[in-house]
Symmetry: C2
Subunit: 635 residues, 2 copies
Amino acid sequence: MSTSAFARTTIASPVSPSRGVLSPVGSDAVRISGGFWADLQSLNASTMIAHCDYWMERLGWIGNFDAAVEGRLPDDRRGREFSDSDVYKLLEAMAWELGRQANSDLEQRYSAIVARIARVQEADGYLNTMFGRPGQAPRYSDLEWGHELYCYGHLMQAAVARARTAGEDELVRIARRAADHVCEVFGEGGIESVCGHAEIEPALIEFGRLLGEQRYVDQARLFLERRGTQVLEDIEFGRQYFQDDVTVRDAEVLRGHAVRATYLLAGAIDLAIEDDDDELLSAAERQMRRTLARRTYITGGMGSHHEGESFGADFELPSERAYSETCAGIGSIMANHRLLLATGDSFFADQVERALFNVVATSPSEDGRSFFYTNTLHRSAPGVVAAADEVSPRAAASLRAPWFAVSCCPTNVARTVASLGAYVAMSDGQAVYLAQYVAGEVSAETEGGEVILDVDTSYPSEGVISFTVTSAPSGGAELVLRVPGWAGGATVQVDGEASSADPGWARIARRLTVGDRVVLTLPMATRVSRADQRIDGLRNQVAFERGPVVLCVERLASEEFAVDDLRVAGEPRDTVDGPVLPVRAVTHHDAEWPFGAAVGASPSVEASVFEVPLIPYHRWGNRGPSTMRVWMPVG
Amino acid sequence: MSTSAFARTTIASPVSPSRGVLSPVGSDAVRISGGFWADLQSLNASTMIAHCDYWMERLGWIGNFDAAVEGRLPDDRRGREFSDSDVYKLLEAMAWELGRQANSDLEQRYSAIVARIARVQEADGYLNTMFGRPGQAPRYSDLEWGHELYCYGHLMQAAVARARTAGEDELVRIARRAADHVCEVFGEGGIESVCGHAEIEPALIEFGRLLGEQRYVDQARLFLERRGTQVLEDIEFGRQYFQDDVTVRDAEVLRGHAVRATYLLAGAIDLAIEDDDDELLSAAERQMRRTLARRTYITGGMGSHHEGESFGADFELPSERAYSETCAGIGSIMANHRLLLATGDSFFADQVERALFNVVATSPSEDGRSFFYTNTLHRSAPGVVAAADEVSPRAAASLRAPWFAVSCCPTNVARTVASLGAYVAMSDGQAVYLAQYVAGEVSAETEGGEVILDVDTSYPSEGVISFTVTSAPSGGAELVLRVPGWAGGATVQVDGEASSADPGWARIARRLTVGDRVVLTLPMATRVSRADQRIDGLRNQVAFERGPVVLCVERLASEEFAVDDLRVAGEPRDTVDGPVLPVRAVTHHDAEWPFGAAVGASPSVEASVFEVPLIPYHRWGNRGPSTMRVWMPVG
């Protein structure tokens, strides 16, 4: 690893590994100019970031830093023990957004918050509004639940974002002092423990990459190796809650708290890369593959238990009350993106796309002012609209809410959306790899020189994606396109000549020069999907997908028939207004006891068939109280 | 209501309403001499009660009372905030057991514990080891979670058991002082709130019935009317957790924490009876009927969420991780038994039977030294054997455990089993009603005089139950037998003459005299049951029941094929060794992604059919780690 500071600053990416099959080109090399993700980035810039800022000022979570300086803690402290982290995630979102496009108001606001935080950091680098003052619990006295290291992790990720988009500033210096402090206190001979919530692990490694500080990586290694050796106290949820049951090297599958588990896996992949540790990388890959094969919802959502916000057993994936926390979807993206870079397997890019369209895009409302914390796949009774000016419990499993007592998700969505460009393109040195499809411009350094592509598409509304080479090195450019796993029958056309492209990477057969045009066509007919029969809650049901988007049936409370009163009566049909599904209505007959020889097997089924819209799952719940199903019963 | 103390002492029943269609005959009028419940009562007497006593001494939960006297609180306090209640439930179990059969060692032990408690009660009647001392939170400072009134409730129920089986003693006097104190502090003009965990409501009413104290009933009325008016603080689980969202009079269905909800309903029924309040009785009956029709497992278990230990939405009853807390099953028995007495509808006796055989009997292990806290209906991977000498988390969803950090269930099972006789027989004045079938002797007062019946049966192993009249008044005895809802095709034979008997109450057509013999024959072929189609987790699956007993397939970890690898391949077959089920084995093929057009719909199914045992659900988990299903997939 280079020892020069800011060795890789030019790669504007949340993760920039020192080796791997693919290297990210960075969000600054990707301009998303229109379409689905551009719209969400605009909404983020215009509304979501300001919404998070507003709520955290209003509730005093940012004010905690002022209260610390003014000696008003612990009396005036507001929010949960980890509220500092949401301020850092807001700063990370602002940093990525400022890297995307200049905005002097936002720049001032960012700097003002950083200045308020800076005053709180103590001489030895310690920084937290919850611990260590008279009347507060001592520093690091509650590693299970205190989240101090978790908060530093988000501080460092924000600093990485800032450094890679704008260069060193006060936030980077704050984070560096915090990182040094962590190494001092938790290094060899220090406190031999870990944080109850993984996050410092990937953050320390990335911050070490940024600054060329090997000791940050070394500290992350200590944390990663300690966890799983029962260094934390046992708790009612069991040690698997914070992955302290089995070491990350020995684990077979993700388990326990889904956000903790995915963040930890991201850190393990980072360490495997920095340490050239193929055994650890294999362990991480094995865990993610089994988790995807057995513990992930069709949306890409992870975690089926409300209790402990945790993964369930293999194939325990009921649609009802699917927890599928928005942050766990983001954690999955973090880990899958790292596996994509490390292994080059496009399967992991498929998973990033799935979670982006069906978890991250599902969380915010169309107006950017409310969010899903959990993402159920079935709502049998209409939910309740959260009051616009109240804090909601985190897992009300109702409609989107403006803010939560535990409000990790809104800021996580904001930072992810602002940094979306970083997930679009990669390079293996020779070729440019397109992993995600957005309208705009992509540039990438290859060994031959810079390649610039114009991308024209309305994906995922339509399946045609056109690439025009606007700059290429003298030897021409190599282009590799991802054909998603669902896209059997895709074609690639190079300057008018079409050929079929199987799922996986489609490498364009010849070197491209300026003016060359490549058209990837993905089949966008609505698909009928079934589930592994070991998932009990999905027997005799089908789901519908169109391109990368999971569809659902939504019935407003005002409409005739709730979703549970409908049965699939034929194949979905694509129309100009979107796909529709033929259904029959059923009439359920209540029994005084709902089990028995004659009970319930045959509700009355109407003969007449009618069609209902299949809408993108990420759009559900935007029109008021409704019932909703992703998986629809057949017959 | 009578104002004389111990007006109804002679009815040895946990509940003895002042009116209703049926009156309990009391457990002292029922001698259970053999068979299923006699065995469990023996196990309770020999092992379970002592086991609970041992653990609560060992962990210091009983010792908390000594520590209080010796000024060692709060430093030496052990257990959760409600641990006093488990000591009271142990005393209740001991009292019922001593009523069932004399035992001088147990009598001494009971008295010794009562003496240790007595010393802790303060001059004004306050009694709790968790609150009110220097260094402890003030009395009643945390009604949401403090459980002080809940503890009094269990104290009073223990006192009721003692008074009705042995007469007034120190425990009854302690409880009376506590009840007076509660009326003083929480009466009109006092603290206008309720306890976060309902229990004091039915307890105060029963204690009032026992002592003829109307003001205890009046105080219960205040508690019942306050709850639902948002008198408690809101919490993350929402106010429905402690039923403070809607009044008990306005509610449509049970919701929130299932034990709290069922205990509260029991109190509402008691109040409706004492107040002659048919509107309240209708409200309670409506809630229970809807809960049975839509929110109850086939086992009679209630509560599908681990989070908040709560009811789910209508038809949200997945088998996986069914919470079905043992105590909620007992709460359901409490409420259903009261509805049986109030309305005379045998449907409620069916529910008592269902929960007794499939929840209460499931909790304890065959050796009486470990217990299920939750009662899942599906275990896809073998659980872990709890260490014999360790405290387990309450909802590990693994095998039975000897004791829990929250250990409400073992003492609840012990007190219920010891008082089982109280659920067997009733009288409407004219006739003796047999609600549950046990081998032994039943006596009942009717208007004509005492009736004594000898009952001979090996039910539920077999379906033949013989009643011989050994004593009858001069005008003869009227006998009414419950034909369970599942028992279509039952017959009743009176002195050799048989007739068919439909589900419901079968009233014997003629008055019986000494020596008359009545034989009820219930069909005991194994039945195949289906579920209301609105229960998503049970689509395309069937369950098996034999008599009142729910069956399951259990596969030991050492056996070939886990339960999830089996498909029903025919009708169950009854053999001399019990029922067996023809199945086919399937081979599942792991996909890297378990959803898609071709995925999972058709695992390989073996052609060969073999038979596996269908065992009583209440027996599962006694032979070591295993997989288990109540609902088996078809085809």
